[in-house]
């Protein structure tokens, strides 16, 4: 027998040789890469290594992109049959599948998420979104919006840093299928996969100007939101920014969809399948470092099983493998940015000072880069800030309840309404709870599942509209009676 008594997994790093990152990028406008004027660095949050210089789009760049999108809409895209438009989307889906490893590696380098997740979740789902929506392009008259649904025209799309490529797919695929052209801005810290997607558009021979990508920060986003040449705004991000956008477009005729924040309850009833519930809790809050708007960040536990579940949860959390995102065995990667890490630290410090009990999984965090150990707070009440505000990190607040109605009431006691989880082996209770919960996505005996055919989006302050499925498609079409 070997001398080693424990099963230490040797490093199993994915090779980064498959990607070639340019030292500097411009924008993708009118089918061509054009140089930017100002630049800012994008870094690997796991190492703080500067990966490339990203262009900061100003007014002229956004104007050029909108102009290119308008021209493509008027001269090409709106005149093309749905059948032909769909073929471009199928092509894009296939090329994304062909280059999936490259996308996964690049996403992990730029975002800090584990390669296992970018490889098994982000990239395959992104390709699936194009495949799904490709099939809608020639069937719009069956989308339930009347016999002659029309595209809006030019869509301005602003996406977050938590699922850079996947959010791009959620936005671009339905927009193109419905016949819009787009100006898309990836998040400041995660532009690289969007720029690689621009290459895919070129390989697919997508007509110039149908997809335009401008990189930049919030100032670029504001230019898009306020641009008079844009007909439709789609935004995924914080509720705070969502409200600013809602106010900005109030005097205009722009159509708007918003996918905003959440503080999802994950309710475990006493008759739940305990081990799968524990997995669901872990998946709910530690998937993608908790950088998920629909993360199950409030664990709402029935008191009769609270001790057992918490003990199992802590044991399970101790097995979460935190570290190098490029290692194929890593479960929890790097926090996306220093700014986000500071926000997580600040809110968890408030949790301490408000009297909640912190417990973090024992793990060695790398010296460089941005890291936060998987953490839970017990003894949390509805009044605590960590029970009300979105932390957007690997931090779980634990609350308890005695009766099913009390559990539901606590779950609903928030201005957010994006998602919720329910765990019970009793069918009638599952259906009862899913009716009671005020949230757009209910995961019963599962959590954080996504599919292009499944509408996603929130109630209340979690946003306007849905993405995915027929409901999501309709956001990119005119034909509904209300405006």
């Amino acid at each position: 027998m070997g001398e080693k008594l424990t099963f230490e997994y040797a490093p199993a790093p994915e090779s980064r040789a498959i990607v070639s990152i340019k030292p500097k990028y411009g924008h993708f406008i009118g089918g061509k890469f054009v140089a930017g004027s100002k630049h800012f660095p994008t870094i690997n949050p796991a190492t703080e290594e500067v990966l490339s210089q990203i262009a900061l789009a100003g007014k002229n760049d956004v104007d050029a992109a909108v102009k290119a999108a308008r021209k493509a809409y008027t001269t090409t895209w709106s005149k093309m049959s749905g059948k032909e438009r769909g073929k471009y989307l199928f092509r894009i889906a296939r090329i994304m599948q062909e280059r999936s490893r490259e996308f996964a590696v690049l996403e992990t380098l730029d975002n800090g998420k584990p390669i296992r997740e970018s490889r098994d979740v982000d990239v395959p789902l992104a390709a699936a979104h194009f495949f799904y929506h490709a099939g809608w392009a020639d069937k719009l008259e069956y989308a339930g919006l009347g016999t002659t649904p029309k595209a809006h025209g030019v869509a301005g799309q602003i996406i977050p840093w938590n699922f850079p490529l996947l959010m791009l797919a959620w936005k671009v695929a339905p927009a193109l299928a419905a016949g819009n052209t787009v100006v898309l801005k990836p998040a400041e810290t995660t532009s690289l996969t969007a720029l690689l997607f621009a290459e895919v558009c070129q390989q697919a021979e997508l007509p110039a100007g149908v997809v335009n990508i401008v990189t930049g920060d919030g100032s670029t986003g504001a230019l898009i939101v306020n641009h008079p040449g844009i007909d439709k705004i789609a935004f995924t991000g914080s509720t705070e920014v969502g409200k600013i956008i809602a106010r900005a477009v109030a005097p205009t005729n722009k159509s708007v969809t918003l996918e905003l924040g959440g503080k999802a309850a994950n309710i475990i009833f006493e008759d739940a399948a305990i081990d799968e519930s524990v997995e669901g809790i872990v998946n709910g809050i530690f998937f993608n470092q908790g950088h998920v708007c629909c993360a199950g960040s409030r664990l709402i536990l029935q008191e009769s099983i609270a001790d057992e579940v918490l003990e199992k949860l802590k044991n399970r959390m101790a097995k979460i493998r935190v570290g190098d995102p490029m290692d194929k065995n890593t479960d929890l990667g790097a926090i996306n940015s220093k700014e986000q890490l500071l926000k997580i630290r600040e809110l968890t410090a408030v949790g301490d000072s408000e009297g909640a009990q912190r417990w973090s999984a024992p793990c060695d965090l790398p010296g460089k880069g941005f890291w936060f150990a998987p953490t839970i707070f017990t003894g949390v009440t509805q009044a605590h800030r960590i029970a009300r505000e979105e932390i957007f990190g690997p931090v779980l607040s634990v609350l308890t309840f005695r009766t099913p109605q009390e559990g539901i009431d606590k779950a609903n006691n928030t201005p957010f309404g994006l998602s919720a989880g329910i765990w019970s082996e009793k069918g009638s209770k599952i259906l009862w709870a899913s009716q009671q919960l005020r949230a757009g996505v209910i995961w019963a005996n599962t959590f954080n599942k996504f599919d292009p055919a499944s509408p996603f989006g929130g109630y209340k302050e979690s946003g306007w509209g849905r993405e995915g499925g027929r409901h999501g498609l309709s956001a990119y079409l005119k034909g509904v009676s209300h405006e």
């Binding site: 027998m1 070997g2 230490e8 997994y9 040797a10 490093p11 194929k328 005996n445």
Partner: protein, 315 residues
């Protein structure tokens, strides 16, 4: 008997005990097992895993055509899996029908394999369809012939009909026959129990009744030791330890044919029950073809190129 204080031997107490178990969600368990199957085990950890897996193999022959010659060859392979490399560990045990126990024990002792156990399949293996008298005698024969491990099958008919107390009593009686001479492994035939809820229930039933090991399958019914079934059983032994401070072993058997599968099993153990279970006294793999694949992978790691079946023995 005390049954760890969990049941008192009556049907009512057994029903209450089994009724207190939480359910298992099939899709969730499948997803967890599938996620753990993505673990990438390389270099030093792979080498460690291969040797550990070899030491956990219950090298098995359970054919109507088994003969003394076949069993002696198996014993030789069990003690020195690779005749050209003495650093390869012996396997955990050989597993045979009970008329071969004496031959196996004698031969192992003769060739320096005193540390290798002999496991006998028992209680009218594989169907379990015989009278209690026959099952007891079957077990007695094996123990008397020198078996250090008894792999008994449960009465799946009784289990599926809800006659749990009958299954429980049978295990208790066979446990008595084993006494201090033999460890008891209880085979569920999970392919016939079908649901994970049943697997979990059978696990807790067998552990309370005195099993030292819980084992998935006979090898005669498919599906056998699937990853989620083993996951559910590992969760059961982990939870049973939390209740009783006693560690029960787990033995997947059937369908584990190559190194990749075996390493996946070790990952399941490591991340479910925990590293404490990563030893032959608490985890065994019932297999026959697996051993040669482990040896070939071991050669590849040592030599740097792929091995051929010509260089491993076929016994």
């Amino acid at each position: 008997m005390s049954f760890y204080g969990l049941v008192d031997g009556t049907e009512a107490s057994l029903k209450k005990y089994l009724g207190s178990l939480s359910g298992v969600d099939q899709v969730g368990a499948d997803a967890r097992a599938a996620m753990l199957a993505t673990r990438s085990i390389k270099t030093t950890s792979k080498r460690w895993a291969i040797d550990t897996a070899i030491s956990m193999v219950d090298l098995t022959t359970l054919e109507g055509a088994d003969s003394p010659g076949k069993v002696r060859a198996l014993c030789a392979k069990a003690v020195r899996p690779d005749p050209t490399d003495s650093s390869v560990p012996s396997v955990g045990a050989v597993c045979v029908y009970n008329d071969m126990v004496e031959i196996a024990r004698t031969h192992l002792d003769l060739i320096g394999g005193q540390h290798v156990g002999v496991a006998a399949v028992s209680t009218a293996f594989p169907s379990g369809r015989a009278s209690m008298q026959v099952k007891i005698q079957d077990t007695k024969d094996a123990v008397d012939a020198g078996a250090s491990e008894i792999d008994m099958v449960i009465d799946r008919g009784a289990f599926l009909s809800g006659r749990y107390i009958e299954v429980f009593d049978e295990i208790v009686k066979i446990r008595e026959v084993c006494g201090s001479k033999a460890h008891l492994k209880v085979i569920f035939e999970t392919g016939e129990l079908v649901t994970y809820d049943n697997v979990r229930k059978a696990s807790f039933l067998a552990m309370a009744a005195g099993a030292d090991f819980i084992k998935t399958s006979t090898g005669k019914v498919a599906p056998a030791a699937t990853a989620p079934v083993v996951l559910v059983m590992l969760e059961a032994v982990r939870d049973f330890y939390a209740m009783t401070q006693v560690r029960i072993g787990v033995k997947p058997a059937g369908g584990i044919r190559n190194t990749k599968d075996a390493i996946k099993q070790l990952v399941l153990v490591n991340e479910t029950a925990g590293p404490e279970w990563l030893k032959p006294s608490l985890f065994r793999i019932g297999a026959s073809a697996l051993l040669n694949d482990l040896l070939m992978q071991r050669m590849k790691m040592d030599d740097g190129y792929y091995a051929s079946p010509q260089y491993v023995t076929i016994d």
